[in-house]
Each structure stands twice: as C-alpha cells, then as structure tokens.
C-alpha cells in the first residue's frame, strides 16, 4: 500500500473491531465511523468513462424561458447553466433556474397515470393505470360532455407556456371555457394599460435611458418586471443605476429594494390611487404638462358636453380650434386645439377633457393625501417636482438619426395593481406620465415589448353589456363590463348561479399545471366549486392539493424534458425565438404535455379535420404552406416544431434549436422601438385621458339594476374613495398585504427542496414596534384574523412572526409561496395568505380582478 488513507485505515480496523462499533452505538454515537467504509461511488482504478454532451434547452419555471445549456454526463443531466447567446439571461440563471435540475430526479413526482378510487374532498387514494386506460377514461368524459353542451367543459392552465398549443389551439378546438390566472397576477394593470394607451403590459421603464424611476409597490431587486424575469430586469436596472438613475420606491414594505433604492415612500396599503391623483395635481399646479403630446396624441382636447359625453358631429369627436375660435373635428387640417377653457357650441356648453381633468383633480392636493397615504405632503410634492424636472418636457434626442421625444422618467409596477382600486390606480399612474409626455418617449414608460398596439384599446371601449344569462365568469355582464376572468369569482358564482344570472353548471374540468386551491383567494369557496364537477383531470408533474382532493385522473407531465415553445427572447431591445428541447427522455412514465394533448384530442374526436386541433395549430403557430400539417395525419411535437421552424425561415428546422440557441435574432430598430417614431405615431391611437366608455358602462349598469358597489368605480376619470377594507371594525387594526420571493414561482418551484432550503418557512413580516406593542416577540407564533367588511366573515391562521424594520407599523405581510400540505417536500411550512383573503364584493375590482389586501388583527397564539 503506497499510501495509508483514512478510509483504508478504517476498513482494516473495522474488520477486526465489530465490537468496538457496537459499543460506539451504546455510547450514543451513530454509524458515523462505520459508514466511512462506504464511499459514494466505487472508485475504479484509472479515469472513469465519461461522455459529456451539451443540450440547448430553456428554463421551465420562470416566465421568460431563459436559455439553458444542459450538461449531460453519461445520459444524466448534471448541471444547468445559462446560455450566453440569449440576451435575456446572458449566460446566467436565477436560483430557480439552477435548482430545477432536481425536478428531473424528484421521486415524489407523479410517476405514472393515476386513477382515483375514493371519494373527493379528501386525500386521494390512487391506483396506477396505463396511459391507454387513462387517456380513454379522460377522452370519453370530454367526448360525452362536448356532445351534451361544450360550455360544460372548463379548462384552466397555470402561467402561460406555449400558448399556441394550449390556449390558442386546444381551447378553440375543444370549445372549452377557459379560466384565466391573470386576475390573481396583474391583469388590472394590463386592462388599465390596454384601455388607456393601447399597450399590453403593466408598467415598465425604458431602462436604457431612464434617469428617474418611480418603483411602485414592487420588490425591485427580487422579482422582475411584468415582461421580464428577475434576471433581465435587474441586469438592466443595475446598468441604469450605473449611469446614475435615481430610484424612488412607493411601497408599504421596503423589501429587497433596500440597497438599490434612494428614497422610500412607505404609503398605506390601498392608498395608491390617492397618491397618483395627487401626483397629477402637483404636476399640473407646477406646470409640468407636455401640451404638445396631449394635444396631438391623446383625447385631452376632445370636447365634453355637460352630460359628460363627448361632443360628436357626424360621429367624429370635436376639439375647440383656437385658430378659428370654433369647434372642429379633431383631425381637421390646421387646427390648434384648446386644452383649457369653456366654450359654447350651439346650445351646448362644452370643455376640453383636459379642462375637466384639471377641475377633477383640483381636490387632490398633497395636504389632502397626507392622511390617506400616510405620507407627509411635502414628500409627495417633492416626488412630483423631481419627476417634473427630470422629465425635461419639450426635450428631444436623436437616436440612430431618428429624432424622438426625450423624457427620462419611468415607472415600474406589476402585482401591486391587484388591489380593490387597482385598475383606476394604474390608470391614474399612467395619466401622470401622460402629463409628462413620457408614454413611449425615450427614457419613459414602456408597458409592452411587442412593439404594436393591442386590440383591447378598441374592444374595451366597445363592450356591449348583455342581459343574463351569462357564462360562468360573467363575460360582458352587468357586473363586470371589463372582466379579467377571476376563478375565485367563478367559484363564488357557482355557490348561487341564479343570483348572477348563470343558468348552467359545468361538469368536466381540465386543469393543466395549475393549483387553484393554493393559487387563488378564498380556498373555502374554491373547494365547494371543485367538488361540484362530475369529472376532473389534472395534467401536472406533481400531486397538487387540487389534484389530490378533487382529480379523478392525474396525467404525469414532464418538466424540462420535452419539446415546448416557441418563446421570445425579447428583452425590450432585442428579439428572437427559442424552444425547449429535451436533454433527457421524459422521466418515469411522464410525457410531454403537447403529446398528451394530441392523444386526448384524437381520442375525443377533435384532432383531425377542419376546426380540429391540427387545424387550429396550423393557425396558432402561423404555419405557412408547404409547412402546414395535414389535417388527417397525426403529428408529434418534434415534427410540429420542425414545421414551425422551417415556416419561420429557419432552414435547418428543429435541429437548429437542438444545436444552437436563438433563432432569427434581431435588434429592434429605433424607428420600431419607440412608438412616437411609428407611422403613424403611437399606431394612430389617441391615448385615453378621458374614459367616456367607463362612464357609459356605469350608466348602463345602473339602468340594468346593478348594485352600486359593482359600478361605483366606473368613472371617466379615476376617482378616490376609501377601499372597502377600511370599513372593517377598528380592532382589525393592521393591513395584510402579500409578497413573492425570487426563490419561487408558482407550482413549478414550490415543491423544489433546494429552493425550499433557501426560504423554508412562512413568516408574518411585522414591524418590531407594532409587535412589541402587542407583546409579540420575534419568532412568536401568533393568530392572524382577517375580517370581511361586507359579510362580517372572519378567517384565522396561525403563523410565526418575523421582525422587519422596513415595513409600516400598520402593515403586515405574508408570502404567497407557502400553505401546501400534500407534497412531502413542502408540508408544515406555514399557511397561505390566500386563506385569509376574500373574494367577491369589496375584495374584487371593477374589472373582476382579485384584491390581495385585507384588514386583520393579530393576537398571541
């Protein structure tokens, strides 16, 4: 023996000292010294046989499908690394991107198709079935219910992946009613943007040029924007900080923004609308108004009659022309419209919308807002003044030879719009940036990366409010003319469908990568709702709470190990496409989601022929001849991507993505990047300062007998009122808000033990002074009780307290990533805040969007 290593020494000793090992046990030691006899892997003499290959694929957890290089050694994935060719992640991954490797090998995945053998509403007892049996079982139910009435089939998917395959092909082919997740995410912000400026997104800055960022309610360094994952958002944020961008954070809790915010405005939860109305008040008072933009590209100069409707002649909106001192069509040649003043046209007293806005916000002074927002008047005034100065109204910049308006002031916001007055608060925020002329200006507000306007600008303005009966999510109803499709509300409606004018009860539910019981507010109502379905199938890699309690059949889906996509690599400035390719075969008996859908459609009888799944895929993927699929030939996922790639001009087809990263990479030209440079500018839209249709909806709702609390926020300008939660009795003296963490993202990450290790437990974040006043110490278990100000219902959970100085003393916060009880990895980690939130009146917005704010009290457990 050349060298006596510790292992070989113990091995020798161990052979003769069995008694010694036993006596160690008696002394209380464990098998420690004996176990050293067993190295992890037998070491072959010489070098182990290693074959390594790199597979190009994408992240499966986050929203933006960052490109990944999967290192595969001897057939096993040993590491996931960022791919430097994708502009969104530039060779890096977030903790989720790294940790998802363990999902390939998660022994608690659903490993085979399962069929329930016990009753619902309790933990499932499962028997393993063959794929053939499971698919037949599911497709027979789908076939049966479609023959009866397609409305009885309901489909719900978690956050979007590969929409062309699921949302845009399976839904129209099957005729299922699609339930959304957005009403729990940020859809109020989307609706406000679509309605006001015609962009599909929440609020995002032009980081490349922004110098002053208002960070509204956003965990700026631990979350990411609505269009980007954390990783890209922060790379751009840090670059902007490096150029000297100032960050002002408006948030009851400072959160991760800590080292990367220059000024913190801890406002009261639910007061955001008041803040933004006041901001406009300050901007107008101080004269920070981009008159040129407002006149040319908004409806600010449109004349409003005394009844609140726009003056129209031959269907055309009118402005007051200061050249001829007369009303003229807004698009008449040579007009210079007035923004202010009152005029007479015939017998009609009229004023420009801007004049009406100015009058409307005169009441919202910083002093008025002080108590409502919990912020000193001078600090609100200071933000307004700084925004006004930094906006440099009137300034221009030339980029690549294109002259553009330059307004280096931005705003970032996302989930914060899910509060009772969120739609109007977001609209008010946009309006303040409209005053500054910062919409789509260089350095200003850019909500969408798609570089085109959204159809909802028009369709949300032209909603035809119907009389009952309504569908299950009350589309075009007298309750929610603008409607983000909220599953908690669907659950509540199902408790008493007649009350809401719904005359049917769905029977078959398909859930794909979603866990309604944990994801959505009001677990109690959701349980009742799920219990009403005659048949439920869940497609998921894991046994979710929803599946374990309510599924009849669970079909195991693969994680990364499949073909899926396509995804964009748009980081706001560059674009291109990627798809997910499998670095291994689907693990256990799981299958790629797309293959599962193809089989289900075939067996349920709507795969082939016109309007079948294949036909819809040809459309949703935009396949051109000769790459369109035959309507009578069953495709597989790889073949479909091959056709899509070739149809998109990628000659190599799907092989391209198996060997490289981004296809069709491009940098946006300046003329495409900024909407003022488009032809016509802003896509020809007149941004909607005045929401005439909101007023119209409110009046139609009144005529149709809609209760006041559904219609009171349908006002043409955002109008402040106290949130409903403020009328809870005074003993409910704290606001509960909720938050998310960089380590988690929905069902795909919550059961991951490596991520759980970083943030193992739920805590109620609480200011130490507020806690001490209630005799609560750091780490104490307490009872949190929420109260519904309308129904007086109360709900309680027990949770541990964590002191946090960076939170308002009247506010507490809980994370959304806990509360699971089925998967062994995530049991006993603390409750979900969704068990404390309410749905329905007072806790749902005018757009049917969920509010994640409620008044609570805390007592020692």
């Amino acid at each position: 023996m050349a060298q006596l290593t510790r292992r070989s020494f113990v091995k020798t000793a161990g052979a003769v000292t069995v008694v010694g090992a036993a006596s160690l046990k008696l002394l209380g030691a464990d098998d420690l010294f004996i176990e050293t006899l067993k190295p992890v892997l037998p070491r072959a003499s010489g070098k182990p046989e290693i074959t390594e290959e790199i597979v190009h694929t994408t992240c499966w957890i986050g929203k933006q499908d960052c490109s990944i290089l999967a290192h595969v050694v001897n057939g096993r994935v040993v590491k996931l690394e960022g791919d430097p060719d994708n502009p969104r992640n530039k060779g890096r991954l977030c903790p989720k991107g790294q940790a998802q490797i363990i999902s390939f090998y998660d022994p608690y995945r659903v490993k085979a198709p399962l069929r329930r053998v016990n009753g619902k509403g309790v933990p499932g007892e499962w028997v393993e079935t063959s794929w053939d049996e499971a698919l037949t079982l599911v497709s027979d139910k789908v076939k049966e219910v479609r023959a009866k009435d397609k409305r009885l089939l309901v489909w719900q998917k978690g956050r979007s992946k590969a929409e062309p395959f699921y949302d845009n092909a399976f839904v129209p082919a099957s005729g299922a009613t699609k339930l959304h997740h957005g009403a729990f995410c940020s859809d109020a912000g989307y609706r406000a943007n679509e309605y006001t400026i015609g962009f599909n997104g929440v609020l995002h800055p032009d980081f490349n040029h922004c110098k002053y960022l208002l960070n509204w309610g956003w965990n700026i360094v631990n979350a990411g924007g609505n269009k980007l994952c954390w990783i890209t958002f922060n790379q751009q944020l840090l670059d902007a900080r490096g150029r000297g961008m100032k960050v002002v954070t408006l948030d009851p809790w400072k959160r991760g923004a800590g080292p990367h915010t220059d000024e913190w405005l801890p406002n009261k939860p639910g007061s955001d609308l008041a803040f933004f109305l006041t901001l406009s008040n300050v901007l107008i008072e101080r004269g920070y108004v981009d008159v040129d933009y407002l006149k040319k590209y908004t409806n600010s100069p449109y004349l409003i009659k005394s009844d609140g409707y726009l003056l129209k002649v031959d269907g055309k909106e009118q402005v007051w022309d200061t050249v001829s001192s007369s009303a003229k069509p807004f698009d008449a040649a040579g007009v210079n419209p007035a923004l202010e003043g009152e005029y007479s046209v015939g017998n009609e007293k009229v004023k420009p919308a801007f004049q009406a806005f100015k009058e409307h916000i005169a009441q919202y002074t910083p002093e008025w807002a002080e108590d409502i927002c919990g912020l000193p008047a001078e600090r609100i005034r200071k933000v307004g003044e700084e925004l006004g100065q930094n906006a440099m109204i009137g300034s221009k910049i030339v980029l690549d030879g294109v002259e553009l308006p330059y307004r280096p002031v931005g705003i970032a916001a996302y989930h914060v719009t899910q509060q009772e007055l969120g739609f109007q608060a977001c609209r008010a925020a946009i309006m303040a940036f409209m005053l500054l002329g910062a919409i789509e200006a260089v350095g200003g507000l850019r909500s969408d990366f798609g570089r085109k306007t959204h159809g909802n600008f028009k369709s949300l303005d032209e909603v035809q409010i119907k009389d009952p009966p309504y569908n299950i999510w009350l589309q075009n109803s007298k309750y929610f003319p603008i409607n983000s499709n909220n599953s908690s509300l669907v659950a509540r409606v199902s408790q008493d469908p007649g009350k809401y004018g719904v005359d049917y009860t769905p029977e078959v539910l398909m859930i794909h990568m979603s866990n309604p019981l944990l994801s959505f507010a009001d677990q109690k109502a959701l349980m009742e709702w799920l219990g009403k379905f005659k048949f439920t199938v869940v497609i998921d890699p894991w046994m979710s709470e929803t599946a374990d309690y309510y599924a009849d059949v669970v079909l195991p889906a693969a994680t990364i190990e499949k073909y899926e996509g396509p995804s964009s690599v748009n980081d706001g400035y560059n674009d291109g496409s990627v798809i997910r390719t499998p670095p291994m075969r689907p693990q256990f008996q799981s299958r790629a989601d797309i293959d599962i859908y193809i089989d289900l459609c075939e067996r349920a009888g709507f795969l082939y022929g016109k309007d079948g799944y294949i036909d819809k895929l040809n459309g949703s993927l935009g396949l051109k001849d000769p790459y369109k699929m035959d309507l009578d030939k069953k495709p597989d996922a790889r073949d479909i991507f091959d056709r899509w790639a070739k149809s998109s001009g990628i000659g190599e087809g799907v092989k391209y993505f198996e060997n490289k990263t981004v296809a069709n990479p491009k940098k946006f030209a300046i003329k495409d990047l900024y909407a003022p440079a488009w032809n016509p500018p802003y896509g020809g839209l007149r941004h909607r300062l005045y929401g005439e249709s909101l007023k119209r909806y409110g009046e139609v709702m009144k005529e149709k007998g809609t209760p006041e609390n559904f219609r009171r926020d349908y006002t043409p300008f955002p109008t402040w009122r106290s949130p409903t939660m403020d009328s809870s009795p005074s003993e409910y003296d704290l606001y509960l808000i909720s938050h998310k963490k960089i380590m988690f993202k929905q069902s795909r990450s919550t059961s991951n033990p490596l991520l759980k290790e970083l943030e193992p437990n739920q805590y109620l974040e609480m200011n130490p002074k507020a806690a001490e006043a209630r005799g609560i110490n750091d780490g104490d278990e307490i009872v949190v009780e929420s109260q519904n100000a309308i129904t007086k219902e109360t709900r309680q959970v027990k949770v541990k307290v964590q002191y946090a100085e960076g939170i308002r003393p009247d506010t507490v916060s809980m994370s959304h990533h806990y509360g699971h009880w089925v998967n062994p990895n995530v049991k006993e980690v603390g409750p979900a805040p969704n068990t404390l939130f309410f749905s329905g009146e007072g806790y749902v917005q005018m757009t049917a969007d969920q509010s994640f704010q409620v008044k609570v009290r805390v007592t020692k457990a």
């Binding site: 290593t5 943030e759 960076g806």
Partner: protein, 252 residues
C-alpha cells in the same frame, strides 16, 4: 505562477442567492451545506432602515489558520492559492472548523444518501404516486445530478479535492471550484451571478480583470486584523456591524 483571487462588489449584489444554488449543484453539497453563503441583513429603525447583502465564500487565506491546525495535512494551500481539502486524508477532527474565523467549513454528519434532500438511496418515495425504482434513477449516483468528474484528482497536486458530500465524517468547504479552474473556467458562483457581482482571476497577471479592478477601486477584506491575508476582496458598502438583524431565515 497563477494566483487566484476573488472580488465581490457589494453595491451590485441583489441578495438572490443564485450563487448559493449554482455552487450547491456544481459541487453536490448536501442539505444545509452552503460553501457560498449570502447574508441578508437589515439595520436601523423604521423608516430609516438599510438593507445589506453580503456573499461569503471561503477566503482562501494566504495565512490560513485551518491549514496550520490540520493534524494530517488534509487541508493545504494549493499551488494556485486555493485552500483545499484532501478528502482521502481528512480524519474529521474539525480543528479547521474551530480555527477558521469566517465559518466556512461544513462537516458531513450524514451518510451521502441521507445528506441530500431526497433519499434516493432508500427509495422511500418509490410507491408514492406510481411506482419506479428510485435507486436506479441515475445508476445509483447520489445525488442523481452528481458530476462524476468530481471524483477525479484535481489541481496541480492531483489529490481528491473537488466537490462535496463524498463521505460521512469529512469536512468540506469552497474550493474556488478547482474542477472548473483546472479547465480555465470561473468558479460556479462567479460564472452564474446574474448581475456580475463577482470578478475572479489571477492577481499575478497585471492585465487580468481582477488586477485592474482592485487597482481602480478601493477594497477591503474581512477580519484583516486577524492576519489571515484573505484572497477574497470586497468592494462597495460594507455591512453594518451593529443593530443588525438577519432578513429571512435559512434552514441551517
């Protein structure tokens, strides 16, 4: 002679802990073992609070106390300056752990199968949600994503120094990813940091990015007064030493 060092820009850190995850998977370290650790702390009182994030790898000291106390020569200063552990020599006395002022050593209390989050070796989950032989999932490798190259000899000294979780009863810590630096790659934490907090390279090369960075910006090292001569340099705002509180817990 190459002289590896690391610089950490505290003004860029976002506290996401992606480096901890990248390190963990690259090196196959076990439950609650973090060769790279990011502290997240809050100080001050509402509303005047500050938040700080501070990554802490092994300092790879030039005057490393852990090397001096190791009774069997398992802990050694390698040719590149990385402080490494020879897993074949370590007897698990934990003197290094006691002597280190930075708390970077982790002892393997559990056997490899128990040391990881899933008990792949025991197949506890085999019958749950459908059957599968968990033990054969990755030809018996524990963890299943363990890279077999970790078992090869590494460094100029060609000793068993890479990766973690080899055996119960040995100490382990950050190696500056010797298996990566051998190939000319940056350590996993450095390569993965989404916001480029880290700079890694050769201090003996005046043109390396780390030499240039340290020449252009002021830096400090942790506990310099203990005369350990760390190879890890910090740039930016130091973490306050008083009235601070850990933000968010971790299962250690």
């Amino acid at each position: 002679m190459v002289k590896y060092a690391m610089a950490i820009d505290l003004d860029r850190c976002m506290g996401c802990r992606a480096c901890m995850e990248a390190c963990k998977i690259e090196n196959n370290t076990g439950r609650n073992i973090f060769w790279m650790f990011v502290f997240k702390q809050e100080s001050g009182e509402y509303p005047n609070t500050t938040t700080n994030y501070m990554p802490r790898p092994c300092m790879h000291c030039d005057n490393a106390p852990c090397v001096k106390v190791c009774p069997v020569g398992a802990r050694f200063k390698s040719e590149t300056g990385a402080v490494l552990t020879d897993f074949d020599r370590c007897v698990g006395c934990r003197y290094c752990e006691v002597s280190c002022p930075y708390g970077v050593n982790y002892f393997n209390w559990r056997e490899p199968a128990d040391n990881q989050y899933y008990h792949w070796g025991k197949g506890e989950a085999e019958g749950k949600y459908g059957t599968a032989d968990i033990r054969t999932l990755a030809n018996g490798s524990i963890s299943p994503y363990r890279n077999p190259t970790l078992d090869e000899p590494h460094g100029a000294e060609k000793r068993t120094v890479a990766g973690g979780g080899h055996y119960v009863g040995v100490i382990e810590k950050c190696t500056f990813c010797v298996q990566r630096t051998d190939k000319g790659l940056d350590p996993a934490c450095v390569a993965n940091c989404p916001v480029s907090v880290y700079t890694f390279g050769d201090l003996d090369d005046p043109n390396s990015s780390i030499s240039k960075l340290l020449a252009s910006r002021s830096s400090f090292r942790l506990l310099e007064e203990t005369n350990t001569h760390p190879r890890v340099y910090y740039l930016g705002t130091p973490m306050p030493l008083e009235h601070r509180k850990h933000l968010e817990n971790i299962s250690v």
